[in-house]
């Protein structure tokens, strides 16, 4: 199994979710994160104190998929999350050794 982590722009979440659903992925976990990268931030001024905000809001999607689904999933994410502008984010893939569904204690690919 593989774990796919995608950092995307927040307003793209719905589209990515739909794209993944379409290729039969029915589970994922999402969290709000802040991203630092090439995309430049903005300046905020509070009564004369200027702060540069260079951690920008991003969404992280994590999903564990069967090896065979990995490429399709990565492809779906890239396609649906892309705007072509700086800051679109990244997809990382790594290996997962075991997965268990808590409810049933099923293990392995049938758990995801």
């Amino acid at each position: 199994m593989k774990k796919i982590e995608a950092i995307i722009k927040p307003f793209k979440l719905e589209e990515v979710k739909d794209a993944l659903s379409e290729i039969g992925i029915e589970g994922m976990t999402v969290s709000e994160v802040k991203g630092f990268g090439r995309q430049k931030g903005h300046t905020e001024i509070y009564r004369g104190s200027e702060y540069t905000v260079d951690f920008l809001p991003k969404i992280k999607i994590e999903l564990v998929v069967a090896d065979a689904q990995t490429d399709a999933a990565v492809g779906a994410i890239i396609k649906s999350a892309k705007t072509g502008k700086i800051g679109d984010g990244k997809v990382f893939v790594s290996s997962v050794e075991q997965a268990v569904r808590i409810r049933t204690e099923e293990k392995g690919e049938s758990a995801v």
């Binding site: 307003f11 719905e14 903005h42 300046t43 905020e44 001024i45 509070y46």
Partner: protein
């Protein structure tokens, strides 16, 4: 008396002439002095007993003529503070809670901008345009620049015959708070996508094109639609106690027009536009309700029996509407929502506004039922069918609610509550006559608002553009227009 009756058109005249004439007149008798004091209790004219049957003053003023009375003045200062409280922070929170987190500050900034901007316009010439006497042909439609510009003659002395117990400057501040909240209501329709600079320009124009004339027409002693304050010569003898036409219809109908010109928010119908804080919306709603007592009962410009009636009908209609709206939700969607309670209350407040000083408690209950039903139907059904993006439902609640209120006022007004009803409604026929006048006022108000808004919107578009850039809209207006975020950490 209705809000209309308070127009202070001849106040400075009254206040300054009398002393000048006084030396020649004998001093007032004890009886006249007591009558003047009794007039204070009754919120009546203290000079009445000084006049002969031809209305000529025959004795000098008693010491309290031209002096604001403490009870009434207190009520009006309190009411003014309450109406300001409706906008800041009431409406700001009500609207601010309904937008997405990234736009909350933009709504707050817009309300504050309008407060400052309109105050400056009001001081410069707005009060004079709205409540200056207005002579000649344009008199029914427009006041004048001379009388009160730069608050000339606007002092703590009483505002004149029709508002004998309230300081003119307090009355001017009271009316200012109405002039502030009206454009602020428009923001609901165009939230989350109109750029700050454009709002600045649009509102400035709109005050001159729509608000000042409309306030004059409905509430001034020379106004064209001022059935209560100008009973003799009003072209349309409509009644509007606290601003169904001037405040809610004008803002609501203008809002929908501006909203259509502006177009929908990016992602409308696709993305999740859930309110970011119903808690804020709830606080705002409660503040609106509390503040609205100043708006409605304050519109009597005195703490008399009509004010008490307005207070009572406001309570009943609002509570009933706040109950009815979520019951409809419960029936049709299975659950009553907090937003439903809040929306119902605001709808109740809107619909009772023109009626509060004219209808009795039972009338208020009927109005509450209508207010919880018709705007609900607009927001839950009609809006979906038509597909416009009235972000925070200014149209469904204020335009429709204000219109319903204007008409129901004619249907339910009661001469036992208020003797100033033009058609002296004692039977169905009189009510039909009054309703016809109300319909005429509705028509004029809609026409002025729609045409005025189209003009102002296109001028604004030509000058500075209307919409935020796509990038700004996606990032949120808080950062793009104000360089701040609402919450941190």
């Amino acid at each position: 008396m209705s809000a209309g009756a308070q127009t202070a058109t001849n106040s400075t005249a009254a206040a300054t002439n009398a002393p000048a004439a006084a030396p020649a007149l004998p001093p007032p008798t004890l009886d006249q002095r007591v009558s003047a004091l009794e007039a204070y209790i009754q919120n009546g004219n203290p000079s009445a007993s000084l006049m002969d049957t031809n209305g000529n003053q025959v004795t000098a003023n008693t010491p309290i003529i031209g002096v604001a009375g403490p009870g009434h003045n207190t009520w009006m200062m309190t009411s003014t503070a309450l109406v300001l409280f409706m906008t800041l922070p009431g409406l700001a929170l009500f609207y601010g809670g309904l937008v997405r987190k990234k736009n909350v500050l933009s709504v707050l900034a817009q309300c504050f901008l309008i407060t400052g901007l309109v105050t400056i316009l009001w001081w410069l010439c707005g009060f004079s345009m709205a409540f200056g006497p207005g002579t000649g042909k344009h008199g029914p439609f427009w006041g004048d620049l001379g009388t009160y510009a730069l608050f000339k003659g606007v002092t703590g002395a009483s505002g004149g015959v029709s508002t004998p117990w309230v300081s003119l400057d307090v009355f001017a501040c009271f009316q200012l708070t109405f002039a502030i909240i009206t454009p602020a209501l428009i923001i609901g329709s165009i939230a989350e996508r109109m750029k700050f600079k454009a709002i600045f320009v649009f509102i400035t124009l709109w005050m001159f094109v729509v608000y000042f004339p409309l306030a004059h027409m409905v509430w001034s002693g020379t106004g064209y639609m001022s059935g209560a304050a100008n009973p003799a010569s009003a072209g349309i003898k409509a009644i509007d106690f606290a601003g169904g036409t001037v405040v809610h219809m004008s803002s609501g109908w203008s809002a929908i027009v501006l909203c259509l010109i502006l177009g929908k928010r990016i992602g409308f119908g696709k993305q999740n536009f859930t309110p970011h804080s119903l808690v804020a919306t709830y606080i705002g709603t409660a503040m609106l309700w509390v503040g609205w007592y100043g708006f409605n009962a304050g519109s009597e410009v005195g703490a008399d029996a009509v004010a008490a009636n307005a207070f009572t009908t406001t309570t009943l209609a609002t509570a009933v509407a706040s109950f009815v709206w979520p019951m409809w939700e419960w029936l049709t969607k299975g659950r009553p929502s907090v937003l439903g309670f809040c929306s119902g209350a605001v709808a109740g407040l809107v619909v009772i506004t023109p009626a509060c000083g004219w209808v009795n408690p039972t009338g208020a209950v009927w109005i509450g039922i209508a207010a919880g039903t018709i705007p609900w139907f607009m927001c839950f059904k009609v809006k979906g069918w038509l597909g416009y993006d009235d972000a925070l439902d200014t149209f469904g609640v204020h335009a429709i609610g204000g219109t319903v209120g204007a008409i129901m006022t004619g249907m339910l007004c009661d001469t036992a509550v208020n003797t100033l009803i033009p058609m002296q409604t004692n039977g169905v026929a009189d009510h039909v006559k009054q309703v016809i006048e109300q319909f005429k006022a509705v028509g004029v108000t809609i026409a002025l608002s729609v045409i005025g808004t189209i003009i102002c919107a296109y001028i604004t578009k030509a000058l500075v553009g209307l919409r935020s850039s796509e990038e700004d809209e996606i990032q949120g207006l808080d950062i793009s227009d104000h360089g701040e975020e609402g919450y941190h950490g």
